[in-house]
């Protein structure tokens, strides 16, 4: 049999194109926003680095759901923390996004804009009242109408400090700073006393810090950034003073959360923000530090501490909308959130759950003290990070902050430049 050159070339092109055609962003062949049908079908649920510690909890959760809704089958997959956003973007671009996905508000924003997140105001509005109003609103995106994920667990945390280092610097270890002025004064004293060897802070200010200091992060319409206001400039000016005095760690400009955590563990840094989860880590990795650990409230000028919100999103292209919505709600309902909160130091986003005795009654342990204080502060906490603040914007802000700390730009110029860069990215990101 003879194969003509043209036929061969066509066949080769087809073979080449076939596996690659899967790389498109997927057709609009998904399901609907109608979640009222029968709860049945096979769905996939993706979590964010939870398998290692909570396998039995999620196995139980899936089994309970399948028992409650016969005819459903949930395949649970877990992705490591590192590169989670990249994994989601690859899946979203490849049309292989799971039906139900664990997300944070900044991850859900681009997915919602691309039409990949189901609008829960339409598909599951009846559940809205089950959640704290602030938590439900945390997955709403400026410029779009709708809510794009069920709120799941919340977290906030105190400020840990090393009492030994405070004592050595002549500071009262039982009187940690409560205001920004006290924090800056103590930090300068600590640096002076240790001859620049012990810094009090190890991170450059982030967008949340600007928010907590009282800067208005975005304009009211959510169409532009505004953290270059007087409060923002004031905060950055203070950080510049700290950096010059080595009260802010000299390596802060290249620090990551992991590296600053290690510096706190080794006593190179006197204060570090954290959560109740960290206490266990201190106990295991730095028992000496744990004996002298001080715990104080997050410092804020606004009266509202910062909180982190996790959500559970439903893929708008799922073939089983009813089952996916039902499962996302099941994962985040009051009973299951409470049960999860008792396994790990996180806080439910469901209305009334924070009044449970588990979050209000002292038992004399540090863990409970931290938990109760955090639960109390969560009632009026704010997720300061704007949902539209992308990774590229975070980098732009960090770079401009670094230029100020290095003395290459004034705080005002740096923040003006950062706002300009973030506004440009906001326009480009649509």
């Amino acid at each position: 049999m003879r194969i003509s050159r043209r036929a061969f070339a066509l066949a080769a092109a087809a073979v080449l194109a076939l596996p690659l055609s899967a790389c498109g962003s997927g057709g609009d062949d998904g399901g609907s926003t109608d979640a009222s049908g029968k709860v049945e079908g096979d769905i996939t649920f993706q979590t964010w680095n939870l398998r290692a510690n909570f396998k039995s909890y999620f196995d139980g959760l899936v089994a309970d759901f399948e028992k409650k809704y016969p005819g459903t089958h949930v395949k649970w997959i877990d992705q490591p923390a590192e590169g989670y956003a990249d994994k989601i973007s690859a899946d979203a671009a490849g049309g292989t996004l799971p039906d139900v996905v664990n997300v944070s508000p900044d991850l859900v924003a681009p997915l919602a804009k691309a039409g990949l997140a189901l609008d829960l105001d339409k598909a599951a509005g009846k559940y809205r009242s089950e959640y704290l109003a602030g938590a439900w609103a945390s997955h709403q995106i400026p410029g779009t109408s709708g809510t794009y994920a069920f709120p799941w667990y919340l977290n906030t945390g105190p400020l840990f400090y090393n009492k030994t280092l405070f004592k050595q610097a002549g500071l009262d270890p039982d009187q940690p700073p409560k205001t920004y002025d006290e924090l800056f004064a103590d930090a300068l004293k600590m640096a002076q006393h240790s001859n620049g060897k012990v810094a009090t802070l190890a991170n450059v200010p982030t967008i949340e810090d600007f928010g907590r200091y009282g800067s208005q992060l975005m304009n009211k319409a959510g169409t532009g950034f505004a953290f270059n206001d007087a409060k923002g400039v004031e905060l950055l000016t203070k950080y510049k003073e700290l950096y010059d005095a080595k009260a802010l760690d000299p390596q802060a400009l290249t620090a990551t959360p992991e590296s600053t955590g290690k510096k706190f563990l080794t006593g190179a840094v006197a204060m570090n923000p954290g959560s109740a989860l960290d206490l266990d880590n201190f106990k295991k990795q730095a028992p000496g530090l744990y004996k002298n650990i001080g715990i104080t409230d997050q410092i804020t000028s606004t009266g509202h501490v910062n909180m982190y919100v996790m959500g559970v999103m439903v893929n708008s292209r799922t073939k089983h909308t009813a089952a996916s919505v039902a499962f996302a709600h099941f994962v985040t309902d009051a009973q299951n959130q409470m049960s999860f909160a008792k396994k790990v130091a996180i806080f439910p986003s469901t209305a009334g759950s924070l009044d449970d005795p588990y979050f209000t009654k002292e038992d004399g342990t540090d863990e409970t003290r931290v938990r109760i204080a955090a639960a109390k502060s969560l009632k009026n906490a704010v997720n300061y990070t704007p949902v539209l603040f992308s990774d590229q914007m975070k980098t732009a802000l960090r770079n401009e902050v670094a230029k100020t700390l290095q003395g290459r730009e004034s705080p005002k110029t740096a923040l003006d430049n950062a706002v300009k860069a973030c506004d440009r990215l906001l326009r480009q990101e649509g």
Partner: protein
Amino acid sequence: MAGVTRVRRQLPTSPWLFAAPGLLVVGAFVLYPFVTTVVNSFTDRRTLIPGRFVGLANFRELIHDDMFWTGLRNSTLYIVGVVPALVVLPLLLALLVQKNIPGITFFRSAFYTPVVASIVVVGLIWVWLLDERGLVNSLLETVGIGRVGFLSDQWLLLLSAMAVTVWKGLGYYMIIYLAALAGVPRELHEAAAVDGAGAVRRFLTVTVPAVRSTMVLVAALSSVAAFKTFSEVYLLAGPDGGPAGEDTTLVMLVQQTGTGLTGRVGYASALSVVVFVVTVALMLLVLRADRRDRP
């Protein structure tokens, strides 16, 4: 004639069929992504949003992007700092371990170990060594020099990353040189020695000319690798590329710009095209220099 097998005439498509598996792999994993990257570089495509054709807008934008020039400067500096070291040092190392003396295998293996070590592990070890409170700074403090900001100063960070690249690449290029040195006729060395040439003279007049083409190969390979460097700077300077992003290399900029849910795939593709053009130009430059200098 019984027992004689008739050989059928070869079909014109036969060679293509043999080459097809390889062509498929190259097409799917090299050509298609390459063509897609070039096409994307003329669009404003984002991770989740298909782009529109924008002509040369991305290339015009990168000319006005300070970070692009920072990345280009750092990638170029990387070549200047790393390539000479990677051309000369592995050759000297190969000369040291070339001789078959007892125990030499241990040294050959030891020099090769960094090549097979994971870059992430290597990066972490160097971060611990160069940290403000790390081993190197403790030693410097002990001898009275004081702490040096290897991981906080923009230039020291870049130099430290170059040091890691050189340290990690020594063994790889050493093996290439060992193979080349094995082909240098012993008689040439003996004749030069008889003529009174010392070790340095023999190295310059016998060894270097004999391994010249290998040196060109090493220069070409290491300059392309240096221009595309990512991991060392990423691990030592952090994901932002050092203080204010001043240590960002071009490939890091591609990663920062083009990844994530809000990644600007079009712009990152334009950056990738520039990286491609520069690396091809580098290769051509090295090969041309070799041809011109060839006796």
